[in-house]
Amino acid sequence: MTKRKEIAIYGKGGIGKSTTTSNLSVALAEMGYKVMQIGCDPKSDSTNTLRRGRFIPTVLDTLRSGSSDLSKIVHEGYKGILCVEAGGPEPGVGCAGRGIITAIELLNQKGIIEEYSPDVVIYDVLGDVVCGGFAMPIRQGVAEQIYAVTSSDFMSLYAANNLFKGIVKYANSGGALLGGIIGNSINKTAQQEMINDFSRKTGTQVVEYVPRSQTVTKCELDGMTTLEGSPKSKQAAVYRSLAKKIIESGNSFVPKPLDPEELWSWGSTWVSRLLGEQKVAYEGIQDSKGGGI
């Protein structure tokens, strides 16, 4: 591989970023790439399923201990994936955003990425783009492509829309562009259609729909990614397909985020449609019979 590919995965907390990222890393490693996964979340659990659930010392812990020796922060996980956790403050103190800035600066200054020279670097970044710190991987010179993980939950799409705003802000100054949307926990057609509609409205594209699957949960309980724990499963195949699309895709977008009012009214029409479908699924009630929801 000639040029290193650096991407960042964003999305609302708990939406499945780390699960998706870790499976993506394994899929890429299976294809022969040298992958480094950098968790940018104070929870420091991004790479856990690559190491049977074990935690590793973080970049910021190392800095805090007064050491400038960052040689111990890169840990090999499953299939030789290079695992790094940025770390962050305890809940309720300090500043996590500043933590991300510092961790990424340190990794650069100390030449850590250069030293290991991975083919692919994936940043797994906590949550919404709430401040400059969380936008760090978007800015010039860090990742070149951003992927938004979202379910069909309105708040999750709201977070994706905020991410798009962050991308637009830096798009003209050499910042990262959007690679696409990854739909996660998508089992119904209506959910797919909603995300599809969102991508159309924002001028972006959906890379993959990842279904919600018990296999993921089971493997996670064993401290493994789906690709390690259940390599032949249907779910594993979905992650492999995602990896292939991401590594081959050259498409990048400057997204067109919706303004809040537009987003709300768009969201409310979809939510009532999804609720309607749910009612049919659970209660066998058709809209015409039930009436007046």
Partner: protein, 487 residues
């Protein structure tokens, strides 16, 4: 517009919020008076501004000279850089009080990169314990900063937690630099801490004790003059907070009255001391100039029910100094003067100058609000429609104004007079510990200083001949208030 102050709040609202303070205005005095009277004064800002002070400076300036206290600055180390300047005042102040000069004592928690991420509360706790052990102070003041504020350090909680472990009384002072553009907000943060954590419920009231709230920039010589006048009324002056002991602050609720040598400085403290401990106050004006000193004394007389005694003192003092003032006036009459000062002094000094017959052609006040609006209106009645600029130290505007107004003499603070000097104008500083300004003697003392400056203009002239031009010539062709913009 004006919010009521409440001691129950952890953090005092800024002066912009509480008093509608403005920091930018340019025009004639009458216009400002009119706008203020009609409540049409807009909070303007500058689209270009030069470096100015941060409120943390003023918060530290308020408490750093307390003799048995230690200051802890919870900040990156740079935020305490101004303490070395405060320390010059501190050492000088000790000398003028006949004490052996000693350094102000301060520690910085030296917040580093890692602390801004993980929080610095542990470090602060350690610093408090260390300060207590190292210096055995009676009080410890903890000053916040931008970094502490941005990462949300809960210094009140740290103070509460650590208090049982130390002997000193620990006082949090909220003064994050970015919170207010009006640096005087820093005074309020300090006094709020003092009122909430130090001042005790009085065990007895003392009807001979009067609190005199005095900023660090009004010197010991002024205090001596004020003490002399108060002694005539049989009152003992408790000068607080600068150079006072922790106990002097703790016992301030015992006083019969609180008065002030600078209303801008004391504004919040005296109101809250009254609200909480029922100590009445006066803070109309700085006792600078004959009329203002009369007024200052009368206010005290009224509050204490001792009007006649005060009138007697006024007559006595006037009789003594008026002949001297008349002498000075002969030499100073008609000289055109420009004054730049903090807002209370910007009223006081011009009144003193008017006593001496000078012609006021312009005033720059660092900020403007209801604390001085009435007095400012009166000043226009006495001194006419002079050029008025409200600026938190903006030399580029100042030099342009002076270039137009061409005063015979310029009066400003330490760092400001140097600009006027480079322009060749005779200058006299309004803050110098070795000159007296306050009270009746202050008029005579400052008057002779002015004559000195006016009769020895050669140095500044030479300086102007040889100094390179401060700004480009084109700037002097522009309007001085070009960079003021509406909200």
């Amino acid at each position: 517009m004006v919010k009521k102050v409440k001691l129950s709040e952890k953090i005092v609202p800024t002066r912009e919020d509480r008093l509608g303070t403005i920091i930018a205005y340019g025009g004639r005095a009458n216009e400002l008076v009119d706008l203020a009277a009609r409540r049409c004064l807009k909070a303007q800002d500058r689209s270009f501004t030069q470096t100015t002070f941060c409120q943390e400076w003023l918060a530290m300036f308020t408490l750093a000279t307390i003799t048995d206290a230690v200051s802890i600055v919870h900040a990156p180390v740079g935020c305490s850089s101004s303490l070395s300047c405060i320390n010059i005042f501190n050492r000088l102040g000790h000398i003028l009080r006949g004490r052996v000069p000693s350094n102000a004592r301060w520690l910085s928690t030296n917040l580093l990169e890692a602390d801004t991420i993980h929080g610095g509360e542990e470090k602060l706790k350690k610093a408090i314990i260390e300060a207590d052990k190292r210096y055995q102070p009676k009080s410890i003041f903890v000053f916040t900063s931008c970094v502490a504020g941005i990462i949300g350090e809960d210094i009140d909680a740290v103070v509460e937690k650590v208090q049982p472990e130390v002997t000193a009384l620990v006082v949090p002072v909220h003064c994050d630099g970015f919170r207010s553009k009006v640096w005087a907000s820093g005074y309020d943060g300090s006094f709020h801490g003092v009122l909430s954590y130090l001042v005790k419920e009085p065990t007895a009231k003392r009807d001979d004790l009067i609190n005199v709230v005095n900023p660090l920039t009004v010197g010991r010589l002024d205090e001596v003059e004020i003490e002399r006048l108060l002694n005539k009324l049989g009152l003992k002056a408790n000068f607080i907070p600068c150079f006072a002991s922790t106990d002097a602050l703790r016992n301030s609720a015992e006083a019969v009255l609180t008065t002030s040598l600078c209303p801008t400085y004391s504004e919040y403290f005296v109101k809250l001391l009254q609200e909480r401990f029922q100590v009445p106050y006066t803070q109309e004006v700085m006792p600078i100039g004959l009329d203002n000193t009369d007024l200052w004394l009368r206010e005290i007389g009224n509050r204490l029910g001792r009007k006649e005694e005060v009138e007697k003192i006024i007559v006595e003092e006037r009789k003594r100094v008026e002949p001297k003032v008349a002498e000075l006036k002969k030499k100073l009459k008609g000289k055109k003067v420009f004054v730049s000062a903090g807002q209370s002094r910007a009223i006081g000094i011009p009144n003193l100058l008017a006593d001496l017959g000078l012609e006021l052609i312009g005033v720059t006040a660092f900020h403007y609000d209801e604390v001085i609006s009435d007095r400012f209106a009166e000043l226009t009645k006495r001194c006419g429609n002079f050029c008025t600029s409200i600026a938190n130290v903006q030399p580029f505007e100042q030099t342009n104004i002076l270039n137009r107004e061409k005063p015979d003499i310029y009066l400003g603070h330490l760092g400001e007079s140097v600009w006027a000097a480079k322009q060749g104008f005779p200058t006299a500083m309004i803050l110098i510990y070795l000159c007296l300004y306050a009270g009746y003697n202050g008029v005579v003392s400052f008057g002779s200083r002015l004559i000195n400056a006016l009769t020895n203009p050669a140095f500044n002239k030479r300086l102007a001949d040889h100094a390179s031009s401060i700004y480009r010539d084109t700037w002097y062709g522009e309007q001085p208030f070009k960079y003021l913009k509406g909200d």
